[in-house]
Structures are given as structure tokens and as C-alpha cells.
Symmetry: C2
């Protein structure tokens, strides 16, 4: 009995020992594919399986790059490509549609070592918006480009461009029609299921944060924005500090949710500020900032990594598509609250 | 002698007494009209006089609103109108020109009590962009609109629109030509005077922070961006957290400077975070964040107010057009480092 107690005490002490500053190099990667009213009862087993497989493929893509000594930038870019190229997520192929059945894609990227950043908003022809954001960072004097100008920049840079029809899927056309019919009917009250449905049309984004073996964080976010959006609306995804932030001094963050509230709460930078200025853990900081978003009336989630390889996947919606792989290759893929 | 010493000690104690939480209602307003290489030797007495008069008119406009019990929102909006309507500043009339001799105006506004915010980027026909930003906040479900969509929204809202020619001045056409000639000549090295000149073409913005008698902060920023900008570049001015931020829990901030560095440093929110999380004064916080901008290679300035009516007007360029009026009506207008 005394022996067992000693072991328990030892395990407790080990569990409580803070990670040392001069630890062995580690690495890790975390992704999200959007947060929202994602409920098991509304999901077919085949659809759930498809999401789990694509999340696994995406996170494993970046993990392999990091394990081979690649940069967090490459890991973030290639991981997000997998999700942008899949119609399952609201980014790249399968992005939601604007009010005029068009496409307007946003993305941003930040390097946690140099604080270099790039972003594009409202592009219509760039196959992989995250790569355009990285090219803005690397090959222009600017951080953020928008609309036709951003598309033109991508063409000049030789990035893969496609016609708008490449991005458009039946599922998103149908969603746009339903949202517009609801708007036209001017029905003021919705039942709970409708409410859920329309709430989900506001959100959905993909994002990735990676830590490489050199100890450098990077974060990226890519989205089609909000169904039925008008007036060239820009959400939080392309805004450095709101949807994306990375700083080796604190953490890397990619957010997903009701963009307007995430802009007003400067979510990604506020999490980093609480970590750097108040010495909070990334979990504590994420919970506090998401509570601020909720207090304003919004919802969504974040994925966060710090330079010790700690991970946070926090959200205040019923579900968030998410996955994490640590340096040991341990995989954690979840959709609902607990699994 | 003992008597004098007692008085000195008393004055010292009064000077050191922290402002009480339950102080008398106060109010105040601070503005900037851009930071840059503004040197007395390059300025004619007439031009200097014109700037001082317009800064005074602008700050007095908002001060009168606040003194009469008006809101910080109204004070910020009407104060910025004065500067937008003047060709002296790079906002509204007199904005700098894009690479194709066009206009692309950005503005943002934030309410420190509700954390409501609105922004527009790249508009070409809205006479007073700050009012469009406020209308996005009040009359749309969005925070940020861009390009033609933002112009269309303003038209739908009945805001004053003008043709592009309204904004364009000889001075800015001339500046664009000089910048483009320099670019075409591909001269790699510039002499000190040229360097100053081209540096100044990157920057210049107007902004205002106000505190009303109800204790509410508001901040707004309006700009034409950067001379010769391409690809629908967006700077920090329309980005909540970068160019503009207001929160009664910390302070209100409007920034001006080399926008790319201000986005990467999330300047306005970082100042607010240092005030809220580290209990720094707005001066200390502003100095720290501007030093971060400088360390990255950028420059510029900020104006900041807190709910006690304290003011900061900090910059790391040779000059910044700026003015402040406190609740007593004391006016402080400066252009160069110390006057």
C-alpha cells in the first residue's frame, strides 16, 4: 500500500513539473476545419468518416514535413492545401457563395519568428489562397491585398489560378438558395433546427498552427467566408490579429467562427497577449477570449500551439473539426465536444 | 523656508496621487494628421500656419460636441470630417493616389463601450469614409466591407458620394509621378533628401480618439493609404486592432505610419493589452509598441486616450501633426518633435 502511494505521489509530481525552458527540440501541428453546430445526430456515418479521414490526411501532411526538419511555414501551407482542395471545408474548393452566387476567398499567414505576415481578401481565381497570402508576404512590400488586385498579383506571381466554377459545389449552391429564400420570406422567427442551419452558414474556415524543430511557430487561416455575404464583406480570417497570429514570444493561433465578433475581439492577438503579458497557459487564454466573444453574442473556436509544443483546441460551439499530432506522432482527431 | 518646503512636499504628493476611480466626469479629444519626416526647414511658414489652423479647427469641433454632452462617436466622426474635407491631409479630399492614378480610401471606427466596430477599405466614391465605417457598424451585420461593395453599401445608405476627381489634387498627382519616375529609373540608392521624400509617400493618415462625459471612449482613423499602391493594397487604418482600437477597459487608439509594420505589430490592440494586462500607462505602452514597430523596420505614431482623460501622442518619426484639448479647453497643437 505504501509502495502504491509513493508511486502515485511520484506520478503526481511528474505531472505537475513544468516543462523546462531548455527542453529537447520538439514539434507539433494542430488544425481546424471550422466550428459550428456540428451534431452527431445530423451527420451520416459516411460523412463523419470522410471528415475524419481528410483531417487525418491534412495533419499528417504537415507532420511529415516537420518530422523531416521542414519549416512550420511549409507545414502550414501544405496542410491547408489538403483542406482547400477538399470540398468538405469552407475554403478553396467547396467555399460558400456570396449573395450573387460568386466566390470571395480570404486567407492569411504569419511567421512567429520574424513576425512577417501576408493576407489576401476577396479573391476569385486563386486555387490555393493560403499560398497567395504567403506570396504577398514574401514577394510584395505589402501585408494585405484585396479583390481583383490580389488576383492580379497572384497571376503575376505564377500561382495556380482556376475559373470560379472550380470552387462551386452543389451543396453550397443549395445552402445559398435556402438562406436567400429565408431572407426573402422575411420570416422573423426560426425554429431551433432552422436557427442551427443558418448559424452554420455564417461560419466554417480552415486553419493550421505548426511548431518546427527549429522552435519556430507559424499560423495560417483560409476561408470562403459567410454564405450570402454582400458588399465585399471581409471577415476575421484574413486579418492579422483577429483570425491569425503567430509570435515565438507567446503562441500561434488560427481562429474560426462568426468573423465579425472575432474582429471586434481581436481574438488571435488577445490570446497571445494574455499568454505573454499575464503568463497564462494557451488553454486559459483561449477560454477567456472565447468567453469575451460569447459575451458579445458570437461563437467559434481556436487552435493554438506554443513553443513548448503545448496545444489548445477550444470552442464554444457544439462542435469543431479539429486534429492534432505531437512529436511522437500521436494523433488526436475530434469533431464533437468530446470525440 | 520650512513653509516653502511644506508646500513643495504637498505639491509633490498631489502630483503623485493616482487618479481616483470615482473621479468627476471628464472628457477630452486627441487627433493626428499623419506622422513622417516633417521638418521645419522643409515647411513654409504659410503651410505650417495652415496645418496648425486646420488641426485646431478639427479638434475644437469634437471638443464642442463633447462639452455639450455629445457622444465620443459624434465627436470622432465630425472631427475627422474636418480633416477628410481638407486637402492638407492624406484622407478624403487630398488623398494620395494609387499606381493607376486612382483613389482607394480606407477608414475604421470603434466604440469603446460596446466594442462595436465598422470599417471600409478601398472605396472610391464616399466623400467621408469615416461615416461609411460608422454606417457599416450600425446598419450592416458586418464589420468590414471592401472595394466596390463598400461603395455600393454607402450609396444604399444614402451617404454623400462624389466622383473620383473630387479627391484628386495637383500635389498628389505630382507626388505619384515622382515616385513612379524613381521606380522606373530603378535607381537603387537615394540621397538623404530623396529617402525622406519617398518615406513620406508611404505614410499619412488622420485619426481621432475621444472620451465623452458619459465615460465612453471612441476611436476612428481615415486614410488614402500609400502613394503608388498596387493590387488593392489594404493598410492598417481600416483594420480593427492595427490602426484603430477602443475599449473602455483600457484605452482608445488611432495609429498612423507605415501600415505594413502596424498590421504585423497589431499596434492599437497591443497598446490596449499592455494597459489592461500589465497596468502600464498609455504613454509607457505606446512607447513600447512603437519600439517594436521600429525594431521590425517601420515607423509612425499613435494618439491615445484613457477613461481618466490622460493623453499620449507618441511617434518615432521626426514629426507628427497632432492636437489635444482637455476638459478645461486647454489646447495643445504640435507638428515637430517638441512644438
Amino acid at each position: 500500500m505504501k509502495h502504491i502511494l509513493s508511486i502515485l505521489v511520484l506520478l503526481f509530481v511528474i505531472g505537475c513539473t513544468p516543462v523546462k525552458e531548455n527542453q529537447e527540440p520538439t514539434f507539433g501541428i494542430v488544425i481546424h476545419g471550422g466550428a459550428g453546430t456540428i451534431l452527431k445526430e445530423n451527420m451520416s456515418p459516411e460523412m463523419e468518416q470522410a471528415y475524419r479521414e481528410k483531417l487525418t490526411e491534412a495533419v499528417a501532411t504537415g507532420h511529415a514535413i516537420l518530422k523531416a526538419g521542414g519549416t512550420s511555414q511549409d507545414a502550414v501551407e501544405q496542410t491547408i492545401h489538403v483542406m482547400e482542395n477538399s470540398p468538405l471545408f469552407n475554403s478553396g474548393k467547396g467555399a460558400v457563395l456570396t449573395a450573387d452566387e460568386s466566390i470571395a476567398l480570404d486567407a492569411s499567414f504569419m511567421n512567429g519568428k520574424t513576425l512577417d505576415a501576408g493576407a489576401i481578401a476577396g479573391v476569385k481565381h486563386i486555387k490555393n489562397p493560403i499560398s497567395a497570402a504567403i506570396m504577398v508576404m514574401n514577394n510584395s512590400p505589402h501585408v494585405m491585398l484585396a479583390g481583383a488586385g490580389a488576383d492580379q498579383f497572384a497571376v503575376e506571381q505564377g500561382l495556380d489560378t482556376v475559373s470560379e466554377s472550380y470552387f462551386i459545389t452543389e451543396m453550397r449552391l443549395d445552402a445559398l438558395k435556402r438562406v436567400q429564400e429565408k431572407e426573402a420570406s422575411q420570416k422573423l422567427s426560426l425554429n431551433a433546427l432552422e436557427e442551427q442551419y443558418f448559424k452554420n452558414q455564417r461560419i466554417g474556415t480552415v486553419g493550421c498552427v505548426a511548431l518546427d524543430l527549429q522552435g519556430n511557430l507559424a499560423a495560417g487561416t483560409s476561408t470562403g467566408g459567410m454564405t450570402n455575404k454582400k458588399w465585399d464583406r471581409i471577415g476575421d480570417a484574413p486579418i492579422i490579429g483577429a483570425g491569425t497570429y503567430a509570435n515565438n514570444a507567446s503562441c500561434g493561433v488560427s481562429a474560426t467562427g462568426w468573423g465579425e465578433f472575432f474582429i471586434r475581439s481581436v481574438v488571435a492577438h488577445d490570446i497571445a497577449a494574455l499568454v505573454e503579458y499575464k503568463n497564462l497557459s494557451i488553454q486559459e487564454a483561449s477560454k477567456i477570449v472565447l468567453q469575451k466573444v460569447k459575451d458579445l453574442g458570437g461563437d467559434g473556436g481556436v487552435v493554438v500551439l506554443d513553443t513548448q509544443g503545448n496545444v489548445a483546441m477550444e470552442f464554444n460551439t457544439p462542435g469543431m473539426y479539429r486534429a492534432h499530432m505531437n512529436a511522437l506522432g500521436e494523433l488526436n482527431v475530434k469533431i464533437y465536444e468530446n470525440k
